[in-house]
Subunit: 136 residues, 3 copies
């Protein structure tokens, strides 16, 4: 069994920003030398998500607006700690903080429209995603 | 380490349709010969989901109705591309597009009521799910 | 390849209760002897979830209230079976029933605020979570 671990670092210029990371994940897979296996792509913070969907700019704005409806900015109990990012925690939970992608014949085994995104909901500071490849 | 990959193909007669796939996943596990490991079951499209829950017909209709409330049909920005499936993308995100099931003693290690479903939100065309078994 | 399987058992005193389980998962990882790999933490029931987020008491109450808004108690079709836990099934779907955590250098490779929670939505009876470690 082979394994390989990388950490991607993000420091978005906007508080909320979605970043396409498919190629960075594919590169980690190539570096690992794994031909058959899986790669876990997982946000290491609790106000960011990783998801797979379309690289279509309109849809990305639709997703942001939809999440603002499901998890609106309001006065959460969490804000009594001095934080103001309650909605970012809830958006992380809707989208889930991780995906696991199959690797077949040394390649990410994705469908034709599947792209991997890092979804930042409380950025403008240094945050990390762990990419862990496992297989043979 | 052993690995085994299969692709399930679906072409539902209705645009929205949920398909029970537990037995197809169990069969892939048996074919793999893996006794201890995990199996990833992941939609290869961005308007379909894979989830684990109850095989109860009333609940399945409840889930469909609930998703229509969370991600209603409306005029999404995504539709400017000519598509009309914005809500299907959002339903994919709520349910998540994948599950990973433990394999113990050569069997899917599921609880008594856990069943695996393929949830199609934009069907009536050929779509795929990758089933990847890994273990020993 | 090494693998190790444990089952955590919960019988919460309240119907809805969130239980911090990071240390139980870390212990299973230590027991496994796996230095590089992944651990799957997956609810074996369809009315409970496993998620990663903050161990902050206010946020936990925010999450519960938010889920009650997204999946309110009402008269679901599922209740025709005699059950009264339709909302618990839907909350399981929002939060997802599982996470998979990377293991690096023999430790859970989590970010500074990431904690693992078992979220019970229909408790007061014996329920299980499977913890499956895989790696080398």
């Amino acid at each position: 069994m082979k394994s390989h671990t990388e950490y991607l670092t993000f420091s978005t210029s906007k508080r909320e920003e979605f970043v396409l990371i498919t190629e960075q994940v594919a590169k980690a897979v190539r570096t690992s030398g794994v031909r058959e296996g899986m790669v876990l792509v997982s946000a290491m913070h609790i106000t960011a998500a990783v998801y797979v969907n379309d690289a279509e700019v309109g849809l990305i704005e639709d997703i942001k607006e939809w999440l603002r409806g499901l998890a609106p900015d309001k006065d959460y109990r969490h804000h009594r700690t001095g934080e103001d990012n309650g909605s970012a925690h809830l958006k992380n939970l809707v989208l889930h903080h991780q995906v696991i992608l199959p690797i077949t014949n040394g390649q990410l085994d994705l469908g034709p429209w599947q792209q991997v995104y890092y979804a930042e909901f409380d950025g403008q500071r240094r945050k990390r995603v762990v990419v862990k490849v496992m297989g043979e």
